[in-house]
Point group: C2
Chain length 408, copies 2
């Protein structure tokens, strides 16, 4: 007997209203009518439905402006939960987040390189069950699992990822396997894409903004969100800013091209440069070494600062490319690498955009560091699930819808 999927009916109106409430944080019904394209009665009934479903709660009253005081509305964070799993070389980072994108629980397990995919899937499922029990969240309120990883993906077949670092996972039907193991719908996506959506969802970014999230973890990528909708492109591989060519005669990249931004200024390059400069590194994985470089820079070691600043110049050019192609008004720096060294990158990127963004006479491009940078990808994975279930979009969500349909 199919449990009724909440929020799937009354699609457009529910989704739009909920999204405005989410972005606003706290808002009255009147303001909703102004910010949405709906009339007051429609807002009223939609809000009542949202309240009945428990997704929204009334939280007191606002100031009067000469008449009745408005009733203020907010998301009910505890109404639904989602699980986000980030597969990366360094390990599997998972979070349980509520409706507002706040982390309720987090756990991290060793990398995936050594085990076979089926074992990893079982481990992920077991960890999810354990952690749900630990924080006493009603499993009925968990609406799904988002799984994200770097690299190009073949989403239309519900297969998983193909990056040279994850060879083992090529042709393994991760989504369906995990669905079978855990009994929840599973969505699969790119980590940078997810991080961008997470920033939109949890970072209270305006519905109408045009922004990109530059994600730096063990690699460099970007996610793009336009009018609240993730830009996926024709095969869900949009946003590969790390493979913008910044030097036509540059070094070969693993992707097959030359002079990719990731090779010239990505985390691996930072670590290599630090090594060459004689900095003492533990020689762990890329991110651990990058963290040491960032700490050295934080202590004021000039070599480390110079290396990171050099990297920042390349990141800035990536941001410029994205801004010029997409006419952005916001760039968010996120991911573990920017969590460590964002304060050094931010001014470089901001100044570069101020000086070179093509339409700067028309408007500036704001640059921010995500407040959730370390777990951005995992939170983004949660947001994938939350948005697809609570605020589904018509265009551009093909892949997610396919996955949902197959997983319901």
């Amino acid at each position: 007997m199919p449990r009724q999927r909440l929020g799937t009916d009354h699609l457009s109106s529910q989704a739009a209203i909920l999204d405005i409430i989410r972005a606003a944080g706290t808002i009255s019904r009147v303001e909703l009518t102004q910010q949405s394209s709906f009339s007051a009665p429609t807002v009223s009934t939609v809000v009542r439905r949202l309240i009945d479903e428990g997704l929204v709660v009334e939280v007191g009253h606002g100031e009067s402006t000469g008449g009745k005081r408005p009733t203020l509305l907010q998301l009910n964070p505890a109404a639904r939960f989602a699980i986000g799993v980030h597969l990366d070389h360094g390990g599997i980072t998972s979070v349980l987040s509520d409706l507002a994108g706040t982390i309720v629980a987090r756990w991290k397990r060793p990398g995936i390189g050594s085990q076979e995919p089926p074992e990893v899937v079982d481990r992920i499922a077991a960890d999810i069950r354990d952690n749900l029990a630990r924080v006493a969240v009603d499993p009925e309120r968990v609406i799904g699992v988002g799984v994200v990883a770097p690299g190009p993906i073949f989403q239309h077949t519900r297969m998983t990822l193909t990056s040279p670092f994850m060879e083992r996972w090529t042709d393994f039907p991760l989504a369906s396997a995990l669905e079978d193991a855990i009994g929840l719908p599973v969505l699969l996506d790119n980590d940078a894409t997810a991080a961008a959506l997470g920033e939109y969802w949890a970072g209270a970014i305006d519905v109408r903004s045009t922004f990109a999230a530059l994600y730096m973890g063990s690699g460099l990528g970007a996610g793009i969100v336009l009018d609240g909708t993730v830009l996926r492109g024709s095969s869900s591989n949009a946003g590969e800013a790390g493979h913008l060519c910044l030097d036509m005669n540059g070094p070969q990249c693993w992707c097959g091209a030359r002079g990719c931004a990731e090779v010239l200024g990505g985390p691996q390059r930072v670590v290599d440069a630090a090594h060459d400069a004689g900095l003492a590194l533990t020689g762990g994985d890329v991110l651990q070494d990058f963290a040491e470089v960032a700490r050295a820079a934080g202590r004021g070691e000039e070599a480390a600062v110079a290396i990171l600043r050099d990297s920042a110049r390349y990141v800035a050019v990536c941001a410029q490319a994205l801004a010029n192609v997409l006419d952005l008004d916001l760039v968010v720096l996120t991911g573990p690498a920017f969590a460590l060294a964002g304060s050094l990158y931010l001014p470089v990127v901001q100044q570069h955009l101020d000086a070179t963004f093509f339409a700067r006479e028309s408007h500036s491009v704001e640059v921010l560091i995500s407040s959730n940078a370390p777990e951005a990808a995992a939170i983004g994975a949660c947001s994938l699930v939350l948005q697809s279930e609570l605020s589904p979009r018509r265009p551009g969500l093909r892949a997610v819808e396919v996955a949902l349909a197959a997983g319901s």
Copy 2:
């Protein structure tokens, strides 16, 4: 008394159906139900409305597949017309196009550098009237004028363009002035953006495709169309592929940045290089000189071929950047420069994408030369009007809607 705006009601369904008919060329109602998300009865009624409005006509029957033969539908090209005006340094190119994007009339006038904007507006209006009379098109069937030009635009104020080549036009309210002069709604946009939409509209490109049009005229730009909707960004300045940075230490560009693709491989660079190589050029405007280089290459002159091939490498990297950021499945080369030398650029771009496109394991990126390359911008200007009136989109059309609202 307000004349009823056709196609503005019943928005979503009419627009969707009409768009599918346009893309298909010829199609039956049954196929429409398959390709759209509507039921057979809905398609039936919507099609009847379109036929009543004269936008669509029945054109015989298709082959039977074991039952009743399907009635085939087509756009009625003569149902509506639009005017497209392309302002560029070399001159003002205008076309009158029908619903299918076919050129009915075209005219070209000298450049706009020497005259004051009000005079130019009067001349444009007079030319439009003359040419409508000449080809005997009922002015009632002309739904509007699209005006396009290179460079960044301030569309939200209905002002016009700001490029160093068009200083005179800064702060001149082109759209409103022309509306007053001609009595038709006027839309304003970037030339490359328009060219992309023109390619979509007149080039019968599939509704679901993700494509960009690289436009090379006197400069280099791009227009992006996703799911049939123009990507405009936050200020209608998206797609500035000519100002992607391909060399961080490259020469200064007029836009303020360094190493822009346009400077390194744009038409001006081709002309300059040809000059340096000792090719005889008449020294006219950029496009005329570019045409001579292209002809020289066509005759097999090695220096010219080498120069163009060099330019093509930069164009190819632009295409790669767009493809990687947007996950494109199609790149169209258009504009007068590619009309002249596209056959030389195309293989270079195609090979580069085949070798370096990030998601090439997932799908390839097709590269085509527009069949309307010489007048692509002007045809695109027509398409702006046609689409906004006949197949309006909700998201991303902010600027156009503002213009339409003000102009109705």
